[in-house]
């Protein structure tokens, strides 16, 4: 393949890559909280709750 054609193909591919849309589904990820005591207390209270 001639060099110029190769370059043109490369450019097209770069363009396609750049315009690729990546859809990331939002999720709440369990991780270390800044409020561990509050979370532990909330879990305890809600575990002993009726009507949830």
């Amino acid at each position: 393949m001639p060099l110029e054609k190769k370059r043109a193909t490369k450019k097209i591919l770069e363009k396609r890559t750049a315009s690729t849309v990546v859809v990331v589904r939002k999720r709440i990820v369990a991780k270390d909280t800044l409020f561990p005591e509050k979370v532990a207390k909330a879990k305890k209270i809600l575990a002993h709750s009726e009507g949830l």
């Binding site: 939002k26 709440i28 909280t33 800044l34 979370v39 879990k43 209270i45």
Partner: protein
């Protein structure tokens, strides 16, 4: 609430940070954490200390309480817009603080009620039940559950 909220940074999907500007500058953080119970998330709120730890018992007296609360409400709205099926649980870090939250919910109930369904827990930590939040009742609540109202 009539106060204009502070601008905030949405640091992660579940963490927001803003700066309270009053007598001093105080970094505030609002954190949402799954509780492992269906669709329930715990909301924590406190001061971010210079060493990276959190103080959720501090009474800042920074002179901007309404602005800080307006920001927390805005963050809650923002979060529930992202997760409309989620119910957010929150309570005070102390008995006094839970009473303060009760007073705030009572005062601004007509405004909150437009956007949120508010329920609360009554009883003890080891035996409690969910009730509708009544702004006129003199009840001691354990904590509160907030859900976005479906329009």
């Amino acid at each position: 609430m009539s106060a204009t909220p502070y601008n905030y940074k949405h640091q992660y999907a579940e963490r927001y940070i803003f700066t309270s500007i009053g007598k001093k500058r105080i970094e505030k953080v609002v954190d949402f954490v799954p509780l492992g119970i269906s669709n329930l998330i715990s909301m924590g709120f406190g001061d971010l200390l210079p060493d990276g730890s959190i103080d959720d018992t501090a009474t800042s007296n920074n002179g901007d309480i309404t602005k800080v609360l307006a920001t927390v409400i805005q963050i809650l709205k923002d979060f529930l817009a992202d997760y409309p099926r989620i119910e957010v649980f929150f309570m005070g870090s102390t008995y006094e603080r839970t009473k303060l939250y009760t007073r705030i919910l009572k005062t601004y109930y007509p405004i909150f009620n437009r956007d949120f369904i508010i329920t609360a827990l009554i009883g003890s930590e080891t035996k409690n039940r969910r009730v509708s939040f009544d702004p006129l009742a003199d009840i001691e609540y354990l904590g509160f559950l907030i859900k976005r109202r479906e329009n």
